[in-house]
């Protein structure tokens, strides 16, 4: 196990380095600079001298390797620099936005797992049964449904036509306190959470279903039934448990998908999370914020994937001993 852990960690180091280099190159080789973006935003032409001064101020006149080294050292010290737009520390801006995104994505992930697992197990337990057929069609449709279109339709129906739910935002103006305030916030959460959930729900439920459908054909499930286990027990404790392991490794890879979804959904619903911060920063060419958010997103994914792989190895001796699973 120690050997496997070290191997896996050693492989993560070049990946981490690759992430850092890719983020840096992507932004610094890109045409357009914060100086031109600022000029376009204020509607005024920035004089050549002022532009030169700004480039010097931001260190944009230094050679690329030097800028990379400076940036790397600062990131190593967990100093993410300050935003070009409002000159506040990048870390502050991200920490302000993060709770909103964690709330949105946390709820979406809970809903995803809470619905996908029972549904996938029930459908996979009786392949070609009526539940499997119906849920198969519905999940497939949800899987192909563009989230921004779904958001528009839900807004049209629930906010414009029925007037049940707010169109966008986090809370109404002059939010009341106590229970009224809580229900106001929940009403604002409803549509964005639904839009963020259904895609990963469709993805995950289909995987659970096929995993369980495959696992239940194994002899050990039949053996469990022969020993007197109830059908429900054979399904959950035997078939699902065996199908669960490969799914754990996928959880780490669901994070980038959720963050991607966040960018679109947060923009549509004017939700002040990191997705919207990222999008606004791209448009403003606010390099430090874009760099920091890309880096955080990728590193979080790397860490989660690594943790999932190690958890898998802990549970499956074939992996940690280096023999291929299956």
């Amino acid at each position: 196990m120690i050997r496997y852990t070290l191997q896996r960690l050693a492989l993560a180091v070049p990946t981490l380095l690759g992430i850092v280099i890719l983020v840096f190159l992507l932004l610094h080789l890109a045409p357009g600079s914060p100086v031109t973006a600022l000029g376009a935003e204020s509607g005024r032409r920035v004089s050549a001298r002022a532009a030169e001064e700004m480039r010097r101020l931001y260190g944009l006149d230094r050679p690329l390797p030097e800028r990379f080294a400076t940036w790397l050292v600062r990131v190593g010290r967990l100093d993410l620099g300050e935003s070009f737009v409002d000159h506040r520390p990048v870390a502050t801006r991200i920490l302000e936005a993060l709770p909103y995104t964690l709330l949105l994505n946390g709820l979406a992930l809970l809903l995803t797992l809470g619905i996908a697992i029972p549904l996938g197990v029930a459908a996979g337990g009786h392949p070609e049964g009526s539940l499997d057929r119906v849920s198969g069609v519905v999940l497939f449709a949800l899987y192909s449904l563009p989230s921004f279109w779904a958001a528009l339709l839900l807004q049209t129906l629930f906010s414009v036509r029925l007037r049940w739910l707010p169109l966008y935002g986090v809370a109404s103006d002059g939010t009341p306190s106590g229970w009224a305030g809580l229900s106001d916030r929940l009403e604002h959460l409803a549509l964005p959470v639904v839009c963020l959930t259904y895609g990963s729900l469709a993805f995950f439920a289909r995987l659970v279903r096929s995993g369980v459908a495959e696992a239940r054909q194994h002899d050990f499930v039949l053996a469990a039934r022969a020993r007197g286990a109830s059908p429900r027990r054979a399904l959950w404790a035997h078939a699902f448990r065996n199908a669960l392991l490969p799914l754990i490794t996928l959880l780490g890879l669901m994070l980038p998908g959720l963050l991607s979804g966040s960018v679109i959904i947060e923009r549509i619903f004017a939700w002040p999370g990191v997705g919207r911060l990222f999008f606004d920063s791209i448009l403003a060419r606010d390099y430090p914020v874009v760099l920091a958010l890309s880096l955080l997103g990728a590193v979080a994914t790397l860490v989660l994937t690594l943790t999932a792989d190690l958890a898998y190895a802990l549970a499956d001796p074939r992996v940690r001993d280096g023999t291929e699973p299956r």
């Binding site: 992430i19 497939f140 563009p146 963050l259 679109i264």
Partner: protein, 283 residues
């Protein structure tokens, strides 16, 4: 699933059949391409601005209604069809090309090359794809070529992983060894001998890739960093819809239906191809 020389590209024609849903999806895809072919007929109507007819509800003259400039929405949705389909196909092709080159090399050469190329795939997979896509699309000048490149260059790791796994399966089979023993060069072995045999599973990945690319283009155009606003696109029409959400539901509904139909058809086709490939492999 063992691959034999007979089960190469020819096998998909000889034995395997698409399931019914896959055939239906194929028919829908063909219909969409036919619609794309006749769409130039609607070009004039799609561009005709009639402010006195702006935001008109669906009627006999305007089956999908009109947009904020009084342009016929049906004509605009039609005109956008070849753009979406074309960009989807081209971006998936870029992705497949890069993915096969990287994945097949990793699988074929193994060792240090595999270790390095697999890390490259892992690096790209670690990023939220929309982060990379937005960065690329926003920093390139808005044009169809930029959108195709941005989508292709961010989605290849999926194809690469497929290609790597498939090449690993066939690289030590007798026909590959025979080609090597006969003195065939490495590029020749990769393209002449391995490519035809890993192509069926790669086509499955590519069909999913087309669906994703169409969706990604629409998302980029919706966010305002995809195609230039002058180009009609489903995402571009949808981008204007929120402004008129109170008075013109049709602007949100119809372009979205076209998008949903197209993405579903390609996804369903991909699933059909996958079960055909699995069926072929299991016999």
């Amino acid at each position: 699933m063992t691959a034999t020389p007979e089960s190469g590209a020819r096998g998909i024609r000889r034995g395997a059949r698409l399931p019914v849903t896959g055939s239906v999806a194929l028919a829908v895809v063909i219909l969409l391409w036919l619609a794309a072919l006749v769409s130039p007929l609607f070009a004039r109507r799609a561009a005709e601005i009639r402010l006195e007819e702006r935001l008109a509800a669906p009627s006999a003259t305007h089956p999908f209604g009109t947009d904020d400039l009084g342009r016929d929405l049906f004509a605009r949705v039609m005109v956008a069809t070849p753009i979406s389909l074309g960009i989807g196909l081209a971006a998936a092709a870029v992705s497949l090309l890069v993915g096969f080159a990287v994945g097949a090399s990793a699988g074929y050469f193994g060792g240090a090359a595999d270790l390095l190329l697999s890390r490259v795939m892992e690096v790209v997979l670690c990023f939220p794809v929309l982060f990379l896509l937005l960065a690329l699309a926003a920093f390139l000048p808005p044009s169809p070529a930029a959108v195709i490149l941005a989508i292709g260059l961010t989605s290849w790791p999926g194809d690469a992983r497929y290609a790597r796994a498939e090449v690993l399966k066939v690289k030590d089979l007798d026909y590959t060894r025979a080609a090597r023993a006969a003195g065939a060069s490495t590029p020749r072995i990769l393209v002449r001998h391995l490519l035809p045999n890993v192509l069926p599973p790669l086509l499955v990945s590519a069909a999913f890739g087309v669906a994703w690319a169409i969706l990604a283009e629409a998302a980029l155009s919706f966010l305002g960093v995809g195609l230039p606003a002058s180009t009609a696109s489903w995402g571009g029409i949808l981008a204007v819809a929120p402004t008129y959400i109170e008075e013109a539901w049709w602007m949100a509904l119809f372009p979205g239906i076209a998008l949903f139909l197209t993405v579903s058809a390609y996804n369903l086709l991909a699933e059909g191809l996958r079960s055909a490939v699995v069926e072929r492999g299991s016999r």
